[in-house]
């Protein structure tokens, strides 16, 4: 049997009672009123049925929502730390190399104020190009006469006759020669002093690598000195470079190898031509 309607005030009172908002005295009075009013009690019980009971419904995809603290993060930071360490070591090494150059430059400024140690714009201008003639006895006499004339001109006209290629040597190399401890091919060329009394015939007989070079350094020693120079400079942070280029275009051409060390500003400090 459907209960008869109640007033809105009674309905609100029942709602407040079920919500727990009524004071104890008002709640007791309402419970007492319901004892004598079945219709009001029926409305109270009907309203009480509207309160939901929590269910145990679970979310089935709960694991998919979770975030994993995977090892990738650890590996990423580990790899980044290793990379950072390498960069720091490289930077430290480079800064040491820079510090090693600074005293040399200051010493150059003291000993040779006129020397320009600025960076050359053209890196193709190798500081030293000793092109030794390796064709031996195949050369004809005309060539030998020309060479004799060239040497005589060199001896008479040049005020600095120790090195015919001096204009090609970088000022920094020339200035560092006095303080360089390890000998290299430049030493042999600088000490190569041709005899003024030699004739073309004598030069023709000795048309091979200069006896002075042979006496001072063998080829193996030259390579060793260059290797020592190169190793010392690499240890100081310089980057090595290898350059191969063709000297002549005729049938007797042979490539010229340049193995040297380059600073960050592309100054070639050492080169070698086998």
């Amino acid at each position: 049997m459907k209960p008869s309607p109640i007033t809105d005030e009674q309905a609100w009172q029942l709602f407040e009672l079920l919500e727990g908002n009524l004071p104890k005295t008002a709640a007791a009075e309402l419970h007492q009123a319901m004892q004598g009013d079945a219709n009001l009690k029926a409305h109270y019980e009907a309203l009480a049925q509207t309160y939901l009971q929590p269910t145990t419904t679970l979310f089935p995809d709960s694991p998919s929502l979770k975030k994993k603290t995977s090892n990738r993060t650890v590996l990423f930071y580990a790899s980044m730390s290793v990379a950072a360490s390498l960069v720091i070591l490289w930077f430290f090494k480079a800064s040491i190399a820079t510090q090693n150059i600074a005293p040399i430059q200051s010493q150059i400024a003291k000993t040779s104020p006129s020397v320009d140690i600025t960076t050359p714009s053209n890196t193709e201008s190798a500081p030293l190009k000793p092109s030794l003639n390796r064709q031996g006895t195949k050369q004809n006499n005309a060539t030998l006469v020309d060479r004799t004339q060239q040497k005589q001109t060199w001896e008479t006209t040049s005020t600095d006759t120790e090195n015919p290629n001096k204009q090609d040597i970088h000022p920094l190399i020339a200035a560092t020669e006095p303080i360089r401890k390890v000998r290299n091919i430049n030493d042999s060329l600088n000490t190569r002093k041709p005899s003024p009394n030699k004739t073309a015939i004598v030069l023709a007989q000795n048309d091979r690598p200069s006896p002075s070079i042979v006496q001072q350094k063998t080829r193996k020693e030259l390579l060793k000195s260059f290797y020592l120079d190169a190793r010392r400079m690499v240890e100081n942070g310089h980057l090595p470079h290898v350059k191969v280029k063709t000297v002549n275009n005729d049938a007797d051409w042979m490539p010229e190898f340049q193995v040297g060390l380059t600073l960050e500003n592309n100054v070639i400090l050492t080169s070698f031509n086998p």
């Binding site: 209960p3 009907a46 049925q49 509207t50 939901l52 419904t57 979310f59 709960s62 929502l65 975030k67």
Partner: protein
């Protein structure tokens, strides 16, 4: 909020948010999507939401996500001013139990009334907390709960629903 705290929130509240969405939408797939969206937003906001306010944030986000769905489905309908739907007497015979009748009745009241009742009964939120989630003040929350329960009482009290 750390990752572990976020995962703890998943353990504590994912089922509650799912229940809340399921009761509202009555579609498990839509409810799962709401839960996914809600927790994804929590993860995006993990630097500003701490674990103490995470539950409120989750239910607020879920509610607003459902509002977006309702607006998409019924773009011209103001969900806050929906009148309780009249009970269709033709389908009443399919539900015999009280809980089934109540579940059916829940789907027939307005969305805001259903929301406040679910938050009140299932999660035990206070009027103020429900107001924060739904954007209503406490008096509006209380009135909506009262009207919703009266509507449920009328629906359940119909003899055709209890057969």
């Amino acid at each position: 909020m750390t990752v572990s705290e976020y995962n703890k929130c998943v353990d504590l509240h994912s089922s509650a948010v799912f229940r809340f969405a399921l009761k509202q939408l009555r579609n498990p797939d839509d409810a799962k999507e709401i839960v996914q969206i809600t927790f994804e937003k929590l993860w995006m906001k993990r630097n500003t939401v701490n674990i103490d306010t995470a539950k409120s944030y989750l239910f607020t986000t879920a509610y607003h996500s459902m509002v977006d769905i309702w607006r998409t489905q019924k773009p011209t309908e103001d969900i806050h001013n929906l009148a309780p739907a009249k009970h269709p007497t033709t389908e009443a015979s399919a539900y015999t139990g009280l809980m089934e009748s109540l579940e059916k009745a829940l789907s027939q009241i307005s969305q805001i009334q259903r929301t406040v009742i679910l938050l009140r009964d299932y999660e035990g939120y206070s009027y103020a907390e429900i107001g924060e989630i739904t954007g209503l003040n406490e008096a509006q929350v209380k009135v909506n709960i009262f009207r919703g329960r009266q509507a449920l009482k009328d629906i359940i009290g119909n003899p055709n629903n209890l057969i």
